[in-house]
Assembly symmetry: C2
Homo-oligomer: 140 residues x 2
Amino acid sequence: MSKSNPQLNLDNQLCFKLYNASRQVTRLYQPLLKEVGLTYPQYIVLLILWEQDGQLVKEIGKRAGLNSNTLTPLLKRLEQHGIVSRNKTPDDERHTIIHLTKAGKELEQSCACIPAQMLEKSGLSMEQMQLLKSALDLLQ
Amino acid sequence: MSKSNPQLNLDNQLCFKLYNASRQVTRLYQPLLKEVGLTYPQYIVLLILWEQDGQLVKEIGKRAGLNSNTLTPLLKRLEQHGIVSRNKTPDDERHTIIHLTKAGKELEQSCACIPAQMLEKSGLSMEQMQLLKSALDLLQ
DNA sequence: TGTGATTTAATCGTGTGCGACCTAATTTAT
DNA sequence: ATAAATTAGGTCGCACACGATTAAATCACA
């Protein structure tokens, strides 16, 4: 299978495993998220807002690791779907503050079962899950 | 910080760590790949072709975990850059076979140093790297 | 041998990611 | 007080991902 350079062997590449694992997990989420009409990054953003409602785009971005060039269109879609509101703050007109709407708050209950369902789908034990989490923390 | 449902706490979510780690690694690769004019998914596809030249779109797709709706445009861009050729096979006109060009083969040498540079950049020890790899294999 | 099922790529539409840039609001340094 | 620098969010362009569909070639088999 592998040819010349063992350094370049795909099976050796951490990057490839990580890239695949991430997409695979996203795919596992999709059928569950489809039921509530969310995409995976939208779900991440909502997790952040459910923790703390009324955050600035900047704060959400820092937590999610996303910049405004990704967040602005995403938040506009959530706004169009009636899940969040976007408003300038009066004290500093540069800020846009994001609030959950009633529908956005209610969505939290609909998503409450997702983590447990995902754990089951993944086929991981709690120990394996914990191992993977702490291994990933090595990269921070 | 976290409000009501501990199940939905972002820090508890494996998905989020994975999603972040994957993007972070991609970002680490970018300056290195930019020097040779490749994107990260293009690099993955080339790793596959350097292992074995002359593969069908389907075979590359299976190895990379990508379908033609992602691969076809990506391969067309590589073709435009003179890195691969795309041809129908005479025995079965449904197949498109991908070959490395001379430039595509030469690119392997230019990329040979990338894994070592990445290991250094990541700040991981060999042991940590190995731990993370095997943890990720749990998801297969 | 003809025809319906299957296989393989390609196409289309939507939604990210992200570099580069822009604009307006605010802060700072003089 | 005000010009320069900084900050926040937005826009644009490109390249993925991926579900859904299409088109063409091949296969299976009655």
